[in-house]
């Protein structure tokens, strides 16, 4: 029987619906393209701006922490030390912000057309991955400038940054869910992310953290992203400790839970907007 039925009824169960997303993958692609094209078209210097903002921030960090405070990086040049960590952090935090806002920013679409809502955070993540890719190119260029020629280890950056984006996606889905009802969350996010940045060894080395906190400190999944990207680029030694596996587990649970709560909330987002 080739006839298809669509049944509309009160929502009960929760389904993540990857199958539906796959069926509408053309839409996912279009939304991704739309974000990229729209951004780079309205600003001729789109790519330049993309790089300029982190470079400016990097310059400031270098002046304050590298030049004035003379943070001990263990012999690595400070700009590269900071930038290799910043790249992953930026990917994570920007993905988190985009995913968190994906329902609200697209309420115009959501309230007028039906499509699997999960496409929105996924398109947002894809866009951040695209921007992240540009940053990685800059990062590799910078490391070559400082004499760290890429080795085979550089391949690790691909799964590593995908992991950073996945963390952003997972946490972002939770926040998107909360933000449907509590819009006040948005201004708080920047503050929390900034605190998170200082809780991760980005502008300073992890060795500065007092010994008794060092173990707990490593439960932060971004700690591992940061340390492993330094390892991949500059061969900075890293010990995989049990907290790494714990944090990996947390991330998996967060992402899965995020997908579930998102699937539940997407059904009411039109009604409570």
């Amino acid at each position: 029987m080739s006839e298809s039925y669509r049944v509309v009824e009160p929502q009960t169960g929760v389904r993540i619906g990857f199958g539906d997303v796959w069926q509408r993958r053309e839409l996912l692609g279009m939304l991704f393209q739309r974000q990229i094209a729209a951004r780079y078209r309205q600003m001729l210097l789109g790519v330049v701006w993309l790089a300029l903002e982190p470079m400016a921030q990097l310059a400031m960090l270098t002046i304050v922490f590298g030049f004035l405070l003379r943070v001990d990086t263990g012999g690595y040049p400070y700009p590269l030390f900071a930038f290799s960590a910043m790249t992953g952090w930026w990917l994570f935090s920007k993905t988190l912000m985009s995913v968190a806002g994906s329902l609200q920013d697209n309420i115009g679409l959501i309230s007028k057309v039906y499509f699997p809502r999960l496409i929105l955070p996924l398109a947002a993540t894809m866009k951040e991955l695209f921007d992240g890719g540009v940053m990685v190119v800059i990062l590799v260029g910078l490391s070559m400038l400082y004499g760290y020629l890429p080795t085979a280890k550089i391949v690790v950056l691909v799964p590593l940054f995908a992991y950073a984006a996945l963390i952003g996606l997972g946490v972002g889905l939770w926040i998107a869910t909360v933000m449907v009802r509590f819009r006040d969350v948005r201004p708080m996010m920047g503050l929390v992310l900034q605190a998170g940045m200082y809780a991760t060894p980005i502008v300073y080395p992890a060795t500065l953290v007092p010994e008794r906190f060092a173990y707990a400190y490593q439960f932060n999944p971004m700690y591992w992203v940061v340390e492993l990207s330094r390892w991949a680029l500059m061969d900075k030694p890293v010990d995989i400790a049990p907290p790494f596996f714990w944090s990996l587990g947390f991330v998996c649970v967060t992402v899965y839970g995020g997908l579930m709560v998102f699937a539940k909330t997407e059904k009411i987002v039109v009604d409570v907007q």
């Binding site: 039925y5 279009m30 729209a38 309205q42 309230s111 009604d271």
Partner: protein, 432 residues
Amino acid sequence: MSSNASPTVRVDAIGKRYLMPHAVHGTGTGGRIMAHLKEFLPFLSHQEDDYFWALRDVSFEVKPGEVMGILGRNGSGKSTLLKILSGVTAPTTGKAMLRGRVGSLLEVGTGFHPDLTGRENVFMSGVLLGIGKREIAAKLDEIIDFSGIEPFIDVPVKRYSSGMYVRLAYAVASMLHADVLILDEVMAVGDAAFREKSQRNIERLAGEGRTVLFVSHNARAVRNLCHTGIILDKGQCTFQGSAADAVITYLQKIHHYQPSQEELTATRWNLDDAPRLHDGGERVLTSVSLHAADGTPAREFHTGEPMRVRIGFHRCTLRQPYFAVLIHNEYAERVATINSSHFAPDLDAHGNGVAECLIEDLRLGEGSYYMMLDFGQYGGGRGLMTSADCVPNAATFDVSLGGYLGGIGLDAFQGAAHRARWSVVTSTSAAG
């Protein structure tokens, strides 16, 4: 469209409820805090009066090839119903079943991005509506042609005029070849020629056996395009039937045309308590009665025959008064304006009395009509008229075709049948 075909859309007791705690606990700080808490923490709201039912117990069926119009005032639940059927939001109760591919167009230009060109937006919007990229590419020329904006197709849509924007957006939507098409107020866009084109498009779809659900405020569009209609009022379905009946019922409701049995046979109406167009003014008009040429009371007239309208008035103090008889058809469309200032500028009406308007030959087609009476002062400016008392629904009457048109059909929606003399000025022989 066979009547025993199984329905493509079956809506079964659909209801939709929204949380609206503000409405209940509007007063006092405590109440307001509670209302906010309830909005954020829905489990606190279990009282029935915290909810608002936007739709309640709506059921209907639509058959293949049927175009169904949905009528209702703002806030009657039309948009909520379409949102539920298109899957944007879920119903609270009930169930609906739609057979085949469902396409919905709740807004013209959904997904358009101002920075993208017309061509890019065609793809964006099309894919969003569920049309495949390949299908869009194949129909791109047709879409551009339909929109009529070919020279601008590679220009960002932010530089379009609003008319161009809307035409392009609608052109994309018209390619939506779904088995069930859900349209919300989309006929209101574009100029007359474009609207005509869109109407043809809907007719074609219905002809191909597709089902169309259609919301519009344009009664004429619903009457012309739809086969059946339903009326929603405060979330409930109050009427189901043919589109023509639905439109008339709806318009009678919104214009308060609900003649009682008594009024349907009346020939004289007392206007002392009749609703006025503008409240608060002096009530000068007291009564109206309709008469045949010889002065006998009547309410049935023939096209091309005379009609006497007698208008009672009192306490008239205006220097240059005018009376006007305004005739509307059942769609509340004006079909005639008969103003005393056109023919009798110096009508002498002071104090109390009766004014008579003799319409020498009534040029209306067959149907029921509503008469509006207006009274006021004219002059003071060039052709300036100031209404003093206006009764929107003063009288009703019926017209049937007399000998005037030789019995050839003309209905209330076709305008006036002007008296004319016909002759052939030049003609050549067909054989020549």
